[in-house]
């Protein structure tokens, strides 16, 4: 059993992806990257990530739509989707709760520990 599953970072901002990758790799995760919604779907099929860190503001589809598609695709087991943004959760009203994503993490609070909490929710 893999203790640290692969993480797919979906974000159109290259600088953020680079920092997130080095931070998460340092935390022991295997990391894959995608810059758009379309790339995300493709990478999810290829990499089979355990967790997708999904930016809401993407150039093609928005994060909510990508989350819907990931949930609807036949990936088994379905990855844990964590939405992220430089904005705060309340800027999205009830849309986060209504989406199939597991939760929301503001970008500036990203850390390996924060993601681990999504992978193994405390009982």
């Amino acid at each position: 059993m893999q203790a640290y599953p692969a993480i797919l970072i979906v974000d159109d901002h290259g600088g953020f992806r680079a920092f997130a990758r080095s931070m998460l790799e340092a935390a022991g995760f295997t990391v894959a990257e995608a810059a758009t919604g379309a790339e995300a779907a493709e990478a999810a099929r290829a990499v089979r990530p355990g967790l997708v860190l999904l930016d809401i503001g993407l150039p093609d589809l928005d994060g909510f739509e990508v989350a819907e598609r990931l949930a609807a695709s036949a990936c088994e087991p379905a990855p844990v989707v964590v939405l992220t943004s430089t904005r705060e959760a309340r800027d999205y009203g009830g849309r986060i709760a209504a989406s199939p994503a597991a939760g929301f993490l503001p970008k500036d609070q990203l850390s390996g520990a924060a993601l681990r909490r999504f992978l193994a929710p405390e009982p």
């Binding site: 953020f16 920092f19 500036d108």
Partner: protein, 573 residues
Amino acid sequence: MNRWLRVALIAGAITAVGCFVWSSWPPNSHYAPVEITFAVVGLSFMVAGIAAWQRWPASRLGLLFTIVGYLYLVPYILVNLANPVAWTIGNVTEGIYGAALAHLGLAWPTGRLRSRFECGVIVANYAQNIAFNTAGELFWNPASSGCNASCPPNLLLVRSSPSISNAIGTAQGYVGLVMTGIILTLIVRHWKSARGWSRRAMIPLLWIGAAVGAENILTGNLFHFSALVTYTLLPLVLLAGPALFVISTVRARTAGGALGTAIVDLEPGASPGRLRDALARALGDSTLQLAFPQPGGSGYLDTSGQAVDADRPDNGRAVVPIAGSDGAVLVYDEGLELEPHLVKLTAAAAGMALEHGRLQAEVQAQLEQVRASRARIVEAGDAERRRLERDLHDGAQQRLVTLSLALGMARDRAAGADPELEALIESAGKEAREALTELRELARGIHPAVLTETGLAGAIQALVERSPVATTITAVPDGRFPAPIEATAYFVVSEALANVAKHARADGAQVTIRKRPGRLVVEVSDDGAGGARPEGGSGLRGLADRVASVGGVLRVDSPPGGGTRLEADLPCP
């Protein structure tokens, strides 16, 4: 009408009636009523003559009325003079006013006869009248008719023969009947062919026609009526024509005023069709047409869509251009040429009304343009704010996030190795996070991303959550609305809640947004101090402007001590 002519006519009328009274003085109690009626009828034609000259200077009607008046009175004056010459002339010319009356009827209303045939009929009528009178005089001896002492001798008498005199009288009756029949037929034809104003102007003529007929039947030698009928009925019928004419003249003098009233009564923005109707009524010409040039110079169309040739109007029609109306014209009954002043006044009134309508349409169009441009300016402002917020989000915020993450990583690496460096990096990270928070607030103030992301319901929820005064949402419709409406509704609630927090000293507030057919009604109320004034500096003025920019209405109800209720009624498909 010339002042001297008027003086002469009035003096003539007074003199004629004066002579008549003088010639029949002292009044015989038996004949006095008859003589008074004579004077009144004669005078009525002279007054109608003055009225006609005054009203229609271009018409000969005034002259004809005056001639009828003199021909009516003068023979009787002459007969009364008890002078053989005057007596003979008076008897020869007695009844000739009937021919003049027929002339007046056929020449109505211009005073000119319309054809050579009608000219011939009138000349023949005058001629037969004088000829028969003269012929009868040759054989009529007043003494044999029982007029011995009071009558002067008949200077034309050739042979006293009552039978010849009577035979001539009977012949005169038949010829007169035929002539009258012809003349009345012609008058009826004139009446039937007249339209619009001309037909109205002919109303007195109908009475004159009746007078021509009555005169012939009652005074002709064919029928014998009692003196009561002849001397009561005939004057009444004779009087009706001039009386009606004088009345119609007085009414025509008020037509100018009627025009003014018609224009004033016309509601603003009335159609050209309604303008035409009002003018036609005021002018008394039901055939009046208001015609506009067609684009491309393809002639004119009137208000009922009928083609009009303004350069060559139909027979009996005349055209007057309307000044300052881009070439519109009035086409009217030619009879109105007799009243050029009225036509000028009508054209001026039409011009004013059209100009008024044009200006109103122009102002309306400009207002529409201003409204549209105001809405565009507000929309452009909104779009610019959305773009700014987006730029902040994609640019500076993104960089600050990355910086903050990098500082976090740097701090982790420095941890343990260099506590001083770790503390320094920690404090730099804190600064970066605070900068990020401030930037987020700034961006939200520029444009609420939540409105674009989730629509009105989510955005209002977020506003209410941030409001320092306890606020409940009674109703907010789900679904999306046009961006300017969503932005305005959001702005109203945001500004209203800010006012509640700043000024109202309220314990609670309520937000209600309801979708109505074609509208979105936004209502924010509180239980605070009230007394908010839309013209005050509480931002309500700006709010009202903002609401008006999308075509909505803002109502503020804020009695002192009674809380404030603010309602924005926005148009929304």
